[in-house]
Symmetry: D2
Subunit: 268 residues, 4 copies
Amino acid sequence: MYNLLKGKRGIIFGALDESSIAWKTAERVHEEGGVFVLTNAPASIRLGNINALAEQTNSQVIAADATSVTDLENLVDQAVEILGGKIDFVLHSIGMSVNVRKGNHYTNQNYEFTEKGWNVSAVSFHKVMQVLYKKDAMNEWGSIVALSYMAAQRVFPDYNDMADNKAFLESIARSFGYFFGRDKKVRVNTISQSPTATRAGTGVKGFDGFIAFAEKMSPLGNATADDCANYALTLFSDLTKKVTLQNLLHDGGFSNMGVSQEVMEMFE
Amino acid sequence: MYNLLKGKRGIIFGALDESSIAWKTAERVHEEGGVFVLTNAPASIRLGNINALAEQTNSQVIAADATSVTDLENLVDQAVEILGGKIDFVLHSIGMSVNVRKGNHYTNQNYEFTEKGWNVSAVSFHKVMQVLYKKDAMNEWGSIVALSYMAAQRVFPDYNDMADNKAFLESIARSFGYFFGRDKKVRVNTISQSPTATRAGTGVKGFDGFIAFAEKMSPLGNATADDCANYALTLFSDLTKKVTLQNLLHDGGFSNMGVSQEVMEMFE
Amino acid sequence: MYNLLKGKRGIIFGALDESSIAWKTAERVHEEGGVFVLTNAPASIRLGNINALAEQTNSQVIAADATSVTDLENLVDQAVEILGGKIDFVLHSIGMSVNVRKGNHYTNQNYEFTEKGWNVSAVSFHKVMQVLYKKDAMNEWGSIVALSYMAAQRVFPDYNDMADNKAFLESIARSFGYFFGRDKKVRVNTISQSPTATRAGTGVKGFDGFIAFAEKMSPLGNATADDCANYALTLFSDLTKKVTLQNLLHDGGFSNMGVSQEVMEMFE
Amino acid sequence: MYNLLKGKRGIIFGALDESSIAWKTAERVHEEGGVFVLTNAPASIRLGNINALAEQTNSQVIAADATSVTDLENLVDQAVEILGGKIDFVLHSIGMSVNVRKGNHYTNQNYEFTEKGWNVSAVSFHKVMQVLYKKDAMNEWGSIVALSYMAAQRVFPDYNDMADNKAFLESIARSFGYFFGRDKKVRVNTISQSPTATRAGTGVKGFDGFIAFAEKMSPLGNATADDCANYALTLFSDLTKKVTLQNLLHDGGFSNMGVSQEVMEMFE
């Protein structure tokens, strides 16, 4: 409770339920004095309980399909009006693979599903930024953050086509981040988070195995959704104004481990 | 002329004209004793002069739209039949952005164009591998290579949405490479090549500027299409059997330069 | 002014004068409620004006040669006593190349100078941590940060053997960070900072050229010493508890730029 | 057997016995038509059986302590004279940690040992290149390769201070590679090799554990010393003239794995 985000306005995508990173982030942003609108796809709004969060944080919920430019334009217009000014921070926490849901192996993709997952998980981030950029809706030194996962760099077999989508997402952060930085002084970064026991995470086959593996490999253990919320605060704050185009590993050290003592001993 | 690829059979995608990397690679593979079929999209076949290359290298041309699984299935079946056995090497040299062609800025994408470029430039690589994998059409210790560009990691403003497509492509190489390696002993890598004065390359706005910049930054100068063909030979050969899931920078050293003396002096 | 470091105790190495990153960091830590001892080598204490900073921040100065384990042991003992408890944060901002000072080109090293620079710039970081670790002088969830530079990954010709020293330093952060994390819940990271107009920085030949180049390449411009101080605060705070073993690029986006529009246009 | 290195002259450091990567490389270079001198430290010459290799490959052995500039100058002079011309390729395969040998934990270093290991394992590579550069003893488009290990990027607990030494070594490859490329058209790279059951490798505590772990993680299994010899040939050949400043992962895919199916299942 530092008042770190006092006076800042934002949009938070993807708070489904209490286990969501976006949910935890919204709670912490609220505690730190920031105001925001919450948004999610209509189906996700029905599925989860975002309205409870809205009440708790004194926020409004605006339904938007993040693959629809029209919905996003409406969202941004409403957010600026409701919050009383341009936007300072955005959290993009959206991801979904139809191939994963349908149980299609990575070597047996249905390419319509591939396209749909890519569109929801990755292109939506471009659309969000393109709408904000064209409407000139971000304040200078604003901060845009999307959640990613290390499968963008390394193979986690069951992560399936989400790996490729996250690679695309991280590339968008760099590509759009250049123009958003140069033209509007806005920074754009991704947080590459430990496997997290959200509803989306636990749906991935083999999730128990790789969260346990990651826990044993990481010197500080896996980063939780609460940890991630705290980290996101620093990126929204005025203390990180020159951090941009980065993919920030937030994982208890996992990403720079070759092998831990504990894991190695299982192989001796 | 080392007979480095004697007895090896392959498929080479994307030889448009004499400036193409795929064209140069086909010539060098032929000199090194490899045999192959050439393939390209029907429109590209009409546009370029691939038949001259086929004659020169004693190869057949099979038209295939690399976004069509049916076309790819037909291509692989025919290639195996024509060449008289399973495939040892594949070169994927395909890329196209409709947004670039239409002059849409990265911050002003038409998302139908984005989808089309992604499908042609990146998903086609997955489709090629999925067809080869399902048909079990690769020999053990075969080698699959796709061409990429460093915009997958760093911002080159005019490279536009091709940057994101290349990031997706490189991720496919890792993701599919895991299963292809584990299940079939096939290696999958990308070559991240210097900017090259091919017909595709020179079509990018600002190309003259960034090829000149790269030349001045690279201690050995830019790698040419001929250099790239030679490098591809090593990856198709039996000398690199344990190289897989890699993105191999082939660029005269550019990728690891912060700044060269020559460039820095322009700023003093 | 968020009280972000209220109740935290630290040791800050390397505040020479008002231009130093360590100096700026000390000022900001003080504003955020942290307490600390300042330390530098005796020669640097005479050269600069650290005592003014000590007075301003209500701190004590303890002279220590960071290559001397004895001096470091004394420093840590005194710090714990003066501050009234174990240490929560450490800033290592130490670097010096004798080859650079003497004007020896990288291809014409005097290896006694190489060893001396390595010892001061890189091994000192290991010594600091080994002393803290053996004395069990860090609190759980403490944070250790060293300053680095991107020459550890890419070539900046005039940075000379400091590039290799920074690579060694960053490796120490990972290697020691594993044990410090696993055994004591302490995180260890490096900040890879924009070229900064400190007294040390401006002493490097060609500094004006590469700071100007970096400025034109970075979408948000170079990060200043003030920016870096703010960023260091986040790493010392409780908001980044699971960030460890990382090299964090703090550079206005420079590290992920291939080329900016502005630079490219100079080559067209 | 392709005559890939016909007419090329080289220097090979570090062939101790039949298990050495340098030994295997010397055999393969000989088969490919290259000529070379072998060199090692006097103590290593006594310890191993390099003379058998010399006889087998029709080579001469020149003793040299790679930390001694005088020895290296003598080596280069003699090599040029014996081989009848300037050098085309160099293999640096040297590494040794006194802390490892003496059983000192990474958090309990003896810094005299640290200095000695660094000098032997890393600085020797700079010395070799500085001598070659000053004497102008390399042919244009020559190739210099040093062996490294992924501990330079990620933590392998028992690799100890060799991790930091390898990071320094890889940085030297970039730093010196810039000047060697720009001024003499010579390329400089490192191969980051799978854990390999050489005499040096097997001496590391926990070696059995991490070679087994790496085997299970790598889609193509660990790269052997024989595989590495083949890969080195490609880097010495004329087919890779524009590959420079790179650290080339040669590891059956290990480096880009997050986790394999097989390893993950142990945690489910």
